[in-house]
Amino acid sequence: MSRRRVAAIARRVMQQVRRDRRSLALLIIAPLAVLALLGFVIRDEKPIETRLGIVALGGPADTRVPQALSAAAAQAGITVVDVGTDAASGRAAVQDGRADVVIVAPAPFAGGSAAIQVITLGEAPADDGARLQVVAGLIERAVSQGAPLTIEHETIYGSPAGDVLNTFAPALIGFFGFFFVFVLTGISFLRERTGGTLERLLATPVRRSEIVVGYSLGFGFFATIQVVLILIFTLGVLTVPGIGPLASFNVGLGITSAGSPALAFVVLFLTAIGAVNLAIFLSTYARTELQVLEFIPIVIVPQALLGGVFWSVNSLPDPLGPIAGVLPMTHAIDGLRAVLVRGAGLSDGSLQLDIAYLVGIAILFVVLAGTTIRREIA
């Protein structure tokens, strides 16, 4: 392998990306902007507005439960609206928009065996879910007024009352470390194939391995910058003081890392290198830039769904669990969680496995990418 040729290819890739301001912005600014937005949404999520209706099927003879629920709602600052005295009128109130959620208390309600019916609109599951949580809280409060029963939650790592972002951030940075590099490399290499430059390149004594390594180094350089910036943005926080009418605000998510940021960098860098070479490999199967983007629902979305970004890998049903186990994203997120949440070091067996897997995947994709660059392009 000629180091001069590899260096020339890597330098050329860097020059190209540096001159292409939009691509540079996609690689550097976009992940930070999306992380900032997600951080803002997750951390500063406001409680959902809930207008509560209570239907007491027991009528005036049994007001104990409705009164307890009303009292609990008042304590929680939730508005209680009149929705009638039977389930049908409660349903109508939700349908008409007079109430967001209606609790139908059975008659007689003994407090243990009977079921409480809760009616929501069913239009937005996320809203319904949030409101059901509110109702569950009210019922718990109403039922336990005599002998308060509380659950004390303790966690080995982090704090149960801590910032949700602390546990969510590893998944986010793993995902973005993969996504943006994949898209940019895929489009860039497709241009190389369709623009005639790859053909010209292959008419020189360059080896396929030199092209792949040169590309990996060129995009690896920007992946490194991206990864460092993502980590700085995720772990750091800078308070910008208010000036005049502008209030002060924070830049960066400022999550707490239990482990070494350098180790998190290693995991994220390996993830990005895997993404670079997977993109080179898959660009063979695209004819246009649009077709590269069409790989997103095939390659990226399943990894986001199964890799632990949104749902726990452990809760996936049987056929999907083993699939998740072979996805690079699963190991990237698991590794980042190990470092950032558990504070795992290089002696940690699980982290060793994740790093070894990511190295293996990166090598596999390098080999696959190399096989797609043939001198014969039919």
Binding site: T197, A203, R207, R375
Partner: protein
């Protein structure tokens, strides 16, 4: 390489893509220091033949030998120049950066030689211009420079004069002649028959087969026509009102 030494040889060369016979049994011998023209309509197999000679395509059967080496051969590519049909340039880079990059790929590290090549194609004053700001003709000239920068012994030029104005076309052919005089073997493909007379020898191709070979004069005499286009049509067996058989 000595003049008239065998530079390129193909023997019973075939290349098929499924049912299509892009190259269908071609035997050719090209000698050093001469300009060979591959003439034929679009889709006749010129580009596939060139790609087989360069080693970018693998023959279905038959053989190609360039400078005594069976193709494909990666090391031999250092002695071959190839100007693709598309410009094949990096639009984000400048003229100099493109030329320097392809020079590095072919092992040419001498900046003086790179600058000299740029002067030959009259782009010396444009070295810092981004490709996006170049005219079509300038891009073709730079593309040619990329194929010549490592001073190859054999140069394949695939439709080098497409979209080029008459003045530039004249200059390019003038330069091709100078290269041939210096001992370089040039294989130039074109679908413009007028350019045939600028070559030392022509290969008329149709449907992947060689119709005939010879100089422009010889081919016109053989066909009994006034111009190469009529000769091509006659040798192809095409009958038209203006070119009766």
């Amino acid at each position: 390489m000595r003049p008239d030494e065998l530079a390129i040889e193909t023997r019973d060369l075939h290349k098929t893509f499924g049912e299509i016979h892009a190259v269908d049994g071609i035997d050719l011998s090209f000698h050093a220091g001469r300009i060979y023209g591959l003439l034929g309509p679009n889709g006749s197999g010129k580009t596939t033949l060139i790609r087989l000679m360069v080693g970018l395509a693998v023959a279905t059967s038959g053989s190609v030998t360039v400078l005594g080496t069976p193709m494909p051969s990666r090391p031999l590519l250092a002695r071959i120049g190839y100007m693709t049909q598309s410009d094949g340039l990096y639009s984000e880079l400048s003229v100099w950066e493109n030329l320097k990059f392809f020079a590095a790929m072919s092992g040419q590290r001498d900046d003086a030689v790179i600058a000299e090549t740029l002067d030959v194609v009259e782009l010396g004053d444009r070295r810092n211009t981004p490709i996006l700001e170049l005219s079509g003709g300038m891009r073709r000239r730079l593309s040619l420079a990329c194929a010549l920068v490592h001073r190859p012994a054999v140069v394949f030029l695939d439709e080098p004069t497409v979209g080029v104005d008459p003045v530039l076309r004249y200059q390019l052919w003038d330069h091709f002649r100078r290269l041939a005089t210096a001992g370089t073997t040039l294989v130039v493909s074109s679908h413009v028959m007028d350019e045939g007379d600028r070559c030392d020898e022509l290969v008329l191709i149709r449907a992947g087969r060689v119709l005939t070979t010879g100089s422009g004069v010889e081919i016109r005499q053989q066909a009994g026509t006034q111009d190469l286009e009529s000769a091509f049509l006659k040798l192809s067996g095409v009958t038209t009102a203006s070119h009766p058989q």
